[in-house]
Structure formats: C-alpha cells, structure tokens
Symmetry: C2
Subunit: 282 residues, 2 copies
C-alpha cells in the first residue's frame, strides 16, 4: 500500500493510496478520510463508511464534491472510496463507452471473457478493500456502506448479500433494479452473459425476497433526476420491500437532480444514519 | 443573460449563466448560488459574496469543491463565482501556460497588446458582474468578496481599491505581494509591461499604505502550502498592515496545503465573517 498524497482536512487527513489488488489482478488507487480522532497522539480506531461512486467516477468525486468530511470529522467516522473499476488493462472495448468497462465495474464479479479475470469489483469492495484498510489503517471492523447511482446499487447488493457484514446501508439515487433498466442490462449482459438467471444475484430488487437480514434501507432520490424514469426504478424496490416487510426509508426529494449538489444536500443525514448504527451517535 | 443549468441544492439553487461581457468583449460564463430565502413564494433579496478563484479554475471549482453552500443556505447569502479569465479568444499564446492567459486573468486590467482589449478582469469582477447580477437576480447591493490564491489577490485589491464597495473581504492563501513573486511578475509583465511602476496599483501589499478605508483583512494560510515560500508572501502583507495599523487577521493553519480540502475546512468561518458584516449574523 503506497501512500500517494495527504491533505489535512477538518483536522483529519484525506489520503490517496495505490496497491496491487489480488481480486482484480491490477494496480488500483483508493482514497480514505481519517477523522481527527484516528490520527495524532491520542488517537483511537474508528469505524468506516465505504462509499461506492457512480458511472465515470474515480475515488475522488465523493471526497471533493460531497461536502461530507466536516460531519465525518465531527462524528469520528472514517470514509473509504474505492475506484469504480479496474483501469488501463488494455482489454478490447474497455474505454469505448461511459457505462461499460473503465469507470463502470458495476460492483459485480464478471464471468464472461475478457472481463472475468479483472472485473471482480464485488469481491474487491466487499472483501479485499476492507481487509486491506483494517490491516493497515487505524480503523475497526465496524463497517457501513453507501453509494450513488451505480454505487448505490453496489452498496445495496453488498449489504443484502452479506448479513452481519455491515451495520447499516444507504444509497443516493441507486440503480435499484438493474436487470430491468438499460444501464444494468448492458452491464450484466457484457459481464455475465445473456442468461438472465445469472443476473438475479446482482439485483437489489430481486435480492430483497430472500434477504437473510432485514437491514433497513435508507434511500434518497431526487424527483428531477434525469435518470429516474429510465434507469433507477426506486418504486420497484419499494414494492419488493413492502411485500416481505423489509424496512425501507425512501425519501423523494422534490426538485433535486442526479448530481453531487443533490448528494451534498443530504449527505449529513446519511452520515448520521450510519453513525447511529455504528454507535457514534445516539 | 442565458440560463445554462440549474441544480437544486440545500433548498436553494445553483445556476450557471452565459452572457456577453462588455468589459471583456467576449462571451463569459459564471455561477451563482441563491439561498432558499431568495427563491420561492416568500422570497426576499439577499446580499452577495463574490468569490474569485485561483489559477486554472473556472466558475465551477468553488461551487463543487468548497462545501460552502450548506452554510450559505442557512445564512441567506448568495454566492457569485465568475470565471478566471476570458476564454477561447484565439490570442497568440493564450493557452500556452497554466499561469498566464486562459484561466489566469489575475483580476487586473491589461494595458499591453494583444491582451488589453479583453483581459480586463478587474473591471469585470468589480463593476460588470455586480451590475449584471444586481439587475437580474434577487440580490441586494450589499457585497462582500473573497477568493483563493490568484483570486485571494483579486479579492484584496478589489476591496482596497474601492472603499465602501464591499462590506467585508477575506482570502485563502492569497498571492499577497504579486510584484515580488514569480507568478505575479510573469502576469504583470505580460499584461502591463516591464515598467514596474504600473504594477503597484495591483499589488495588495503596496496598496495597503494608501488605502482609503481600513477594512479588516481576514486571511487563512496553510503552513504546508507548497506555494507559500515562493509565491504567496503573507508576511510581507502583514508587515505592511502593521506599519499603518491596517487590521489583519492572518490565521496560519498548521499542516494545511493549497487545495480545496484546506478551503473547505475553513470556509464556514469566512462565510460567518461576511455574514456578520452583511447583517445576516450577529
């Protein structure tokens, strides 16, 4: 784990690291925010919020644009932002479109060639990154997870498929039913093949009925989001939750769009949600 | 004034506009944040903080990265971010370096060709933009000004040269004595020529002795700023202030660098400083 840069921020530290990922078989970069409580002479270990970003993003979008670090510093919450895919592998077509390949790993484990050996972002964010962070940084094994759009999908499937692994989960404008929307269909067909049975284990709406843990879902969605109708399907998820009494708090935010201006407006509420689950806030 | 986009943010609105600038004789884009108090059915006019960004920035860096909009929304403060230079004029050399020409207008009025007809960013930010904004948006003529690096220089000279025009001024890591540092020398020589007598009216440290108004200067500066020694010279400014009893609050922030992570960490203190001067906060 090679330290690339450090920025002091709210008396904590924003750091970027590079490491070799075994899950992805390539070099990866990620960002971490350590709150003041975790650094310095009187420091202690702190719990972590894992944030998964959306299409085209790197580890930096959330750190620079979400306005989350002030509240995270106050709460004593670390934040870890992985990248959204392997990069620079030279696979055919990896840079041809914004919604497949580079910047679009979809947080699943690919089974089709040539993606299968590298595009295993699910294993990377659920297993490898937490192990790496927990072994090398002053953090506990208490974890929460959140994300935006493709990353909201990633956060929700990570939590639903791993009972007990996360203390809480939330999402902003998640791709809530990917096997039914154009972004998800393109990604799942490319990474998993055309047998839609193989898609079901990566679709939040389809995972809800069989979820082993009824961890409440906190979701914020802007009503002026350009992708709401065609790509996101929060109602399908809400319907699935209702059928099996899976707790969901779906906040439809009037006039808000898909941008980080939307995320910034409500991120503190999400941080507080996770902080309560992690025992940082009553 | 053509509206390019709107994002709802903290129940206010972030908007981008394009207009023809008479001062610069070209098309320009700028951004504005209107707090909730200024929009909607019960709206009123609100005062404005003008923010001048640093080298290479556009109107978007501050809006996306400073984390300022939450507090601005609470205070009822509008924020206007101009661009940092004319763009796309096709002048010889305008895109050759990051510290001269595009993205590097230095908030002065050029007198040398070919820059003189267009590079009049001082007139643009001090006169044209406030007139435009005050004529077209729900804002008052109560103004404050702040900025970062090159924009900190711009904010300080704008305030010092225009007694009564601004209620308050502040800066993050300003180029405090440009006629003595490499960035400033390059810009002043290019835009004004080699006669250094013509540089003095654009240099904060040199303007202090003759300032007609002793408006307090609030300045934050990181001690780990890579540009501190070679480019910024806050001590020269502090010395000049001391000699004539010009009030200055220079906060040296231990470990902080030149980035927006630094600005984000202290922007709320600056917003509160301006809000007090503008009557929004006691």
């Amino acid at each position: 784990m090679e330290l690339l840069s450090t920025n002091v921020c709210f008396n904590g530290e924003h750091r970027r690291y590079r490491h070799h990922s075994a899950a992805l078989d390539c070099e990866m970069e990620f960002a971490v925010f350590l709150p003041p409580a975790a650094i310095g002479s009187e420091s202690r270990t702190v719990p972590v919020l894992y944030w998964l970003s959306g299409l085209t993003c790197t580890d930096q979008n959330f750190m620079q644009k979400a306005g989350a670090l002030k509240r995270a510093a106050e709460l004593g919450l670390a934040i870890v932002c992985p990248d959204t895919s392997p990069r620079g592998l030279g696979l055919p077509g990896e840079d041809d479109s914004y919604d497949f390949g580079s910047g679009a790993g979809f947080y699943i484990n690919a089974t089709r060639q040539p993606w299968a050996p590298h595009y295993r972002m699910y294993d990377y964010v659920v297993k490898e990154i937490p192990q790496l962070v927990e072994s090398n940084l002053p953090v506990t094994e208490e974890r929460s997870i959140s994300g935006h759009s493709m990353g909201g999908h990633g956060a929700l499937i990570a939590a639903l498929k791993n009972p007990g692994h996360y203390q809480s989960v939330s999402a902003f404008a998640p791709i809530a039913h990917p096997s039914a929307c154009p972004w998800g269909k393109k990604a799942f067909e490319g990474y998993l093949g055309s047998d839609t049975a193989a898609w079901e284990e990566w679709d939040t709406t389809l995972l809800i009925p069989g979820a082993k843990e009824r961890l409440p879902l906190l979701i914020d969605q802007g009503t002026a989001d350009n992708f709401l109708e065609e790509q996101l399907y929060p109602e399908a998820l809400a319907d699935a939750c209702e059928k099996v009494h899976h707790p969901i708090h779906l906040h439809m935010r009037r006039g808000y769009d898909h941008s980080y201006f939307f995320i910034a407006s409500f991120i503190d509420e999400h941080l507080d949600h996770h902080a309560r689950a992690l025992g940082l806030l009553r």
